[in-house]
Amino acid sequence: MQIDWTPFSYTVVNLARQIRPNELAFSGVNSTLPMLACLLAKRAYDFHFTYLNVAGGVEPVPTTIPHSSSDPALVAGSPAIFANEDFYDLCARGGLDLVFLGCAQVDGEGRTNVSVIGEWKNPRVRLPGGGGAAVMMPTAKRVVTWRTEHSVRTLVEKLDFVTAAGNLQTVVTPIAVFRKRDGRLALESRNPQVALDEVIRRTGFKFDASGATLTAPMTAREQAALEGLDPRGEFAAAVRA
């Protein structure tokens, strides 16, 4: 029996699917869904990859799943502490394969804004800032971002501010996965519960949808891993459609 995707399960599982064998993958601050994706990949996939996180954890085995992706719980079971200076420097010298970096807005070229909505000097919303994104996005080998709100105000033709630009390859939302092709984000696959017209209508930038597929169904192992990470559905409840 095929299980329907929820906004939560679609986003986390498709983030997890970006991780490749033997990679060094990193999740940062305010990145609960990538944190869950990395922990899910550890449980659902047979290949090895190394998970680093902003709390300084290296291959942690957390006994509790924290609400915050920078919680020291993400160091539990870690045989080393590889803290902020170390992982930023590793990224800058080209040693991080996959970095999850958040955004408020992303444009069709895969650049992100985490700084401000409106004018810098007269903002409508002052955002928390890149947290190193301007350094990591051009230097990581691959960057993946995500938004739980897929709308014309989050996936935009023109950013209010360019916080970071560079090697962003993939954008995951609850309804679609975009991948960069010839310098532009193109639709790679979409949630089978959503029509292509809806993806187009809810996306502010123009994109190529040729070759786009329906996202492969969640596997039993992905589902089991996700339920294990969120047995009470608390994380799922925090992601609204």
Partner: protein
């Protein structure tokens, strides 16, 4: 990371620090960061961040001795560059310990006492944040503090651990 580059410049005693990345970001123009060509001829252009020297760094440690030697367990986050870049360093710590216990494992001392101007023993001083391995983030306190209502700040301060010790 650009912030840390500025702290490192101050710690290294140089006016600026090269940093990887930043290319393509509006932050460079906004902050007036300059880009220089590699003087050794690689052809690379590198952003350089001006030194940032905080007047005072305050760090919270697990243990401190009477000389201000401070031990931090768990992830140090930015404590190392911050204490090296700042003009003055203040320490708060969970508990006071004899110097001999720090000397037994000196590699765990994050900042030596000669750099520390003053220290205070403040149990649960990281609240509502966490202090490895003693206590975790008090998420309830953080969420209560986030409410935009009258009296929230007062209630937060009244709930602080030092209040219950008076």
């Amino acid at each position: 990371m650009t912030l840390v580059a500025g702290l490192r410049a101050a710690a290294y005693g140089v006016p600026f620090q090269p940093v990887g990345g930043v290319h393509g970001s509006d932050l460079a123009a906004l902050n007036g960061w300059r880009k220089i060509a590699d003087p050794y001829g690689s052809g690379q252009e590198v952003y350089v961040i001006p030194a940032i020297s905080p007047d005072i760094a305050v760090i919270h440690a697990n243990e401190v001795d009477e000389h201000g030697n401070a031990r931090v367990l768990g992830s140090p986050f930015w404590d190392h560059p911050l204490t090296r870049a700042a003009k003055r360093v203040l320490v708060t710590a969970e508990r006071l310990v004899p110097s001999e216990s720090l000397a037994a494992q000196p590699e765990l001392t994050l900042v030596p006492g000669f750099m520390v101007e003053a220290a205070a023993v403040v149990p649960r001083g990281a609240w509502p944040g966490s202090m490895h391995p003693l206590y975790e983030v008090d998420y309830d306190a953080v969420e209560a503090y986030l409410k935009d209502e009258p009296g929230v700040l007062e209630a937060h301060l009244a709930a602080a651990p030092e209040q219950s010790e008076k």
